[in-house]
């Protein structure tokens, strides 16, 4: 027993280091000035941590002004960072809506596919997940064309466009995941509930949902995170800075001819915070005590 405990402890330490070291290094770099970052050997502990990079992200205009007065010349700074707070808010809104759409649509669909025998179910299921087989680079142009005219709606350059694209991108995978999850859960209790006179919807919401909570939570986290990090499609279906998402703005910051490493790292640190809160909220429900009890 003790040997197992030591094993778990060692493994946990390795895992924590694996995840944390690059993050700590990112944090470290974000607190250094550019000359400090570009020095060998690298600075491990910033002698006097600078907050300029963070200041720059949250109040770009005044940070640029201060830098001008200080040195009298304007270095190449990614002024696009002034849209960062707005992009962060956009990304949070989009991510939350994408979670809602996915949990709703994928749960309903996978329940219908898994539990009800109907002609064409196999075909419809395959059709629902086939879209994910094509590399993004090949479908980005048709996606763009669809967004220009989605059933008569002009959605280009709106948050709705990004939501739509991200939902279309995540639903297939999530249907497959929930289908797999549901097919491991015996249908006995559902049958019992149906005999007791529950309708399909009642059975799904009252009996099935509590049992498959870990699967749904996983689907929710996946939807949010895929949307949160997605650059390419969000870039293609938006045009004005007002509707850009966080990864796009960060991508622009990185695409400057003079790459401001510190500002980029500060962007990464700030960008991960909202997502971390979302993961923390959802993770609680990932391990469900209900599973073991309900399946008996």
């Amino acid at each position: 027993m003790d040997r197992k405990k030591i094993g778990i402890l060692l493994a946990s330490i390795v895992v924590a280091c694996w995840v944390l070291l690059p993050i700590l290094w990112m944090l470290d770099l974000s607190l250094q000035s550019e000359p400090e970052i570009h020095s060998a050997p690298p600075t491990i502990i910033p002698h006097n941590p600078v907050y300029f990079n963070y200041w720059f992200i949250f109040d770009t205009s005044s940070a640029i002004e201060a830098r001008l007065q200080e040195s009298g010349r304007l270095t190449f700074l990614p002024a696009v960072a002034r849209w960062f707070p707005n992009a962060l808010a956009n990304s949070v809104i989009i991510g939350l809506v994408v979670i809602a759409i996915n949990v709703f649509a994928a749960t309903l669909a996978s329940y219908a596919y898994t539990r009800i025998r109907f002609p064409g179910s196999q075909l419809l299921f395959y059709m629902s997940i086939a879209g994910r087989l094509i590399p993004p680079v090949a479908i980005v142009v048709p996606y763009y064309i669809i967004i220009q005219n989605f059933f008569g709606l002009k959605l280009y350059d709106t948050l709705i466009a990004v939501i739509l694209v991200h939902a279309a991108f995540t639903i297939p995978l999530n249907i497959w995941i929930l289908n797999t999850y549901l097919s491991t859960v015996p249908a006995d209790i559902e049958d019992a509930a149906r005999v007791d006179g529950y309708g399909r919807f009642e059975t799904l919401f009252r009996v099935v949902l509590p049992v498959i909570t870990p699967g749904i939570v996983a689907v929710g986290i996946i939807s949010f995170m895929v949307s949160w990090g997605e650059f390419f499609f969000a870039f293609m279906v938006t045009q004005t800075q007002l509707s850009r998402t966080m990864p796009v703005i960060v991508g622009f910051m990185a695409a400057q001819p003079y790459k401001p490493v510190g500002i980029l790292m500060a962007g990464g640190v700030v960008a991960m915070l909202p997502a971390l809160v979302v993961i923390a909220i959802f993770r609680r429900y990932l391990i469900s005590g209900l599973v073991a009890g309900a399946v008996k």
Binding site: I8, S12, V15, V19, P22, W25, M26, L29, P41, P42, A105, L108, Y111, A112, I116, F118, L124, F125, M127, S128, R132, I134, P135, P136, V137, A138, I139, V141, P172, I177, T180, Y181, L182, S183, A187, G199, F201, A218, I221, M225, W228, G229, M246, P247, V250, A254, L264, M265, G267, G268, A271, M272, A275, L276, R283, L286, S288, V291, A292, V295
Partner: protein, 295 residues
């Protein structure tokens, strides 16, 4: 079939199909159409049907062999590693010990960082002059002078694999973890009574139960590995030489640098064919006849 069931099926499928179908069939049709056309936006007046010429041009191009090789090397190293490590992580995280909640959260954290930034972090760690890796090795006395890791073939490839693992592990781990939650505890209790050892309990219960999840993870990770673009673009830009220039790197440059949509679509199609072949192989390997819709 009951009337109520029909009504339920229709209501339950409409939301997902509304999102999925337009974004599946139009893109597939478009990709097929474009890949058979001379579709070069530099010469928009010359768009016409050319059959399989795009495919032939792509196969005969200067980059084809090298990029296939780079992609294969990258995928062969990174896919099995991702599957195995994420399975191990999920097993660790499904144990009961103090701090496991924090660790579950921590494992998902790399996901929260924009890919551009996490790739830049890895690039910066291994930077020849300012990187902490070189400084650490020199400090420990392992090397005498700084080594330009990203300019060396295999180190560059392995750094890409490291970065891929770092950003891609959260999703498979989460899936396995959710899968493990659905294993009925009675199975383990029964196995314990039968006197099964830990390894055989793992093999006959956990692994068997997780097979369908393993399939999703293998398919997803393979697609991600075959499509890898961002980390290559940021960390090595295809170098040294063309050693890490994977297929998607050329798909992007055909599409957005040379604006030759026809060839980019042809390349993508080849990737799709390879993915389908691999998916079938995974079905066979995991002895899953076909996608089961029901238990």
């Amino acid at each position: 079939m009951l009337k109520e069931d029909i009504r339920f099926i229709i209501l339950a499928l409409i939301p997902s199909l509304l999102f999925v179908l337009p974004f599946t069939f139009y893109p597939i049709g478009y990709a097929i159409y474009v890949s058979t056309q001379r579709y070069d936006l530099k010469y928009p007046e010359e768009i016409r049907f050319i059959g399989f010429d795009n495919f032939i041009q792509v196969i005969n191009s200067y980059y084809f062999t090298d990029s296939v090789l780079a992609t294969v090397i990258f995928a062969v190293i990174s896919v099995p590693l991702t599957v195995l490590i994420s399975l191990g992580l999920a097993l660790l995280l499904s144990q009961k010990f103090r701090g496991v909640g924090f660790l579950q959260w921590l494992v998902l954290v790399p996901w929260a960082i924009p890919l551009v930034v996490s790739s830049a972090v890895w690039k910066w760690i291994f930077d020849a002059n300012y990187g902490i890796f070189n400084a650490a090795l020199k400090g420990l006395g392992v090397i005498d002078s700084y080594i330009p890791w990203l300019s060396l073939k295999w180190p560059a490839m392995l750094i890409l694999v490291l970065a891929f693992l770092w950003v891609q592990l959260p999703l498979p781990t989460l899936l396995f973890l959710a899968g493990i939650q659905s294993i009925p505890q009675e199975l383990y209790e029964a196995a314990l009574i039968d006197g099964a050892r830990e390894w055989s309990r793992f093999k006959s219960i956990t692994f068997t139960w997780l097979k369908p999840f393993m399939l999703i993870v293998a398919v997803y990770t393979t697609l991600m590995a075959l499509w890898t673009f961002d980390i290559v673009y940021v960390i090595t830009a295809g170098g040294p030489g063309n050693f890490t220039a994977v297929i998607s790197y050329y798909t992007f440059s055909e599409m957005f640098t040379f604006l030759n949509f026809g060839r980019a679509s042809a390349l993508s199609f080849m990737v799709v064919l390879v993915s389908i072949g691999l998916i079938i192989a995974y079905f066979r390997a995991l002895r899953i006849g076909r996608l089961r819709l029901r238990a």
